[in-house]
Symmetry: C2
Subunit: 195 residues, 2 copies
């Protein structure tokens, strides 16, 4: 049985959910631990699970033609992980999820996921709302990313997700901002002198 207080609270909060449904849902998930650098899923493989982050953080990235990483985002506590496209299509995916810190994930397989989605409206709704919100946020982020300098992107990151710079190595932060690690150093250096 899942012990995570955050996850239990999330399931309890689903609109119109009964005690029984709640426990069926909780029993459909299993816990998985990852060491730093370990992968939750890899490009080229079929993503067989979705995972709720109970502890730790991970990076979500693609390896581009020239070999460099492009980090799409980081997941901390209370985020969901997994390659949605691959998970839904059951075809090999194009993305990687890799642990940065030691991670505890609360996972569900595709078959159990389908059962919950078909039988529990509330669970289905949770999933769709997540996708919808994620899409809306992704649009907003894309609009800003497009017309900001590296420094502006860095400052916005500090404001919106202060935990990133605390918990993620700087070369990954640079790959997330889409700049060279040296540029990140320069920006940080400049900002520290301005203060």
């Amino acid at each position: 049985m899942i012990e995570s207080a955050n996850f239990q609270r999330l399931i309890k909060s689903l609109p119109g959910i009964t005690k029984e449904e709640e426990s069926v849902i909780l029993e459909s998930f299993n816990v998985r631990q990852l060491e730093p650098k370990e992968y939750f899923c890899r490009e080229g493989e079929i993503c067989k699970q979705l995972g709720y982050v109970d502890k730790g953080c991970l990076s979500y990235f693609q390896v581009l033609a020239d070999g460099r990483k492009s980090i799409i985002h980081f997941a901390f506590e209370d985020w969901w992980t997994g390659d949605l496209e691959s998970f839904l299509t059951r075809e090999p995916g194009h993305y990687n999820w890799q642990a940065i810190e030691p991670v505890e994930l609360i996972c569900i397989s595709r078959s159990k996921f389908d059962i919950l989605r078909n039988e529990y409206t509330a669970f289905n709704g949770l999933f769709y709302r997540k996708t919808q919100t994620a899409y809306i946020k992704a649009m907003a982020k894309a609009a800003k990313d497009k017309s900001e300098t590296a420094e502006e992107k860095y400052l916005r990151m500090l404001e919106e997700q202060p935990q990133i710079i605390q918990r993620v190595p700087h070369y990954d932060v640079a790959a997330y901002l889409g700049i060279a690690p040296e540029s990140l150093s320069r920006i940080r250096n400049k900002l520290s002198k301005e203060k």
Copy 2:
């Protein structure tokens, strides 16, 4: 009654749909025409309709703090338009949809949209699949945008959406690529000499 062949085909293609459902759905939509530069929806206002593009093209953009446009994408035939967040929350939105060419939209109001979603599983499914696909594509685009030079972004745009450079003014193309119009000119000039 909606005359658009494309739209009718889209509705007909919904899985498990009956003749009656089909006509109820078609009757829930109405046609709206826009002149170039006319807005379908504006930031600060509540987006009251979603629209299917039957003819023409529009830009989807945000006006940033410094007054410049950041174009998120363009919609051509067979795309959907509207500020999803505002439409769903019924709160003032942050985005604009503006016609570039003369446009014919096939529109639905929120109240009729809700009815269709509640009563027709197939319609509901259409909407969710669209959101899901859009989200997955947005992630893929964000990953590439992040680590490409202006020239690479331009070349990818030519490959993936050749109609953009044909139908959209160059200053809007530049706002879409996140570069200055002068940089776009330079890139085009350079590429034309290389060939």
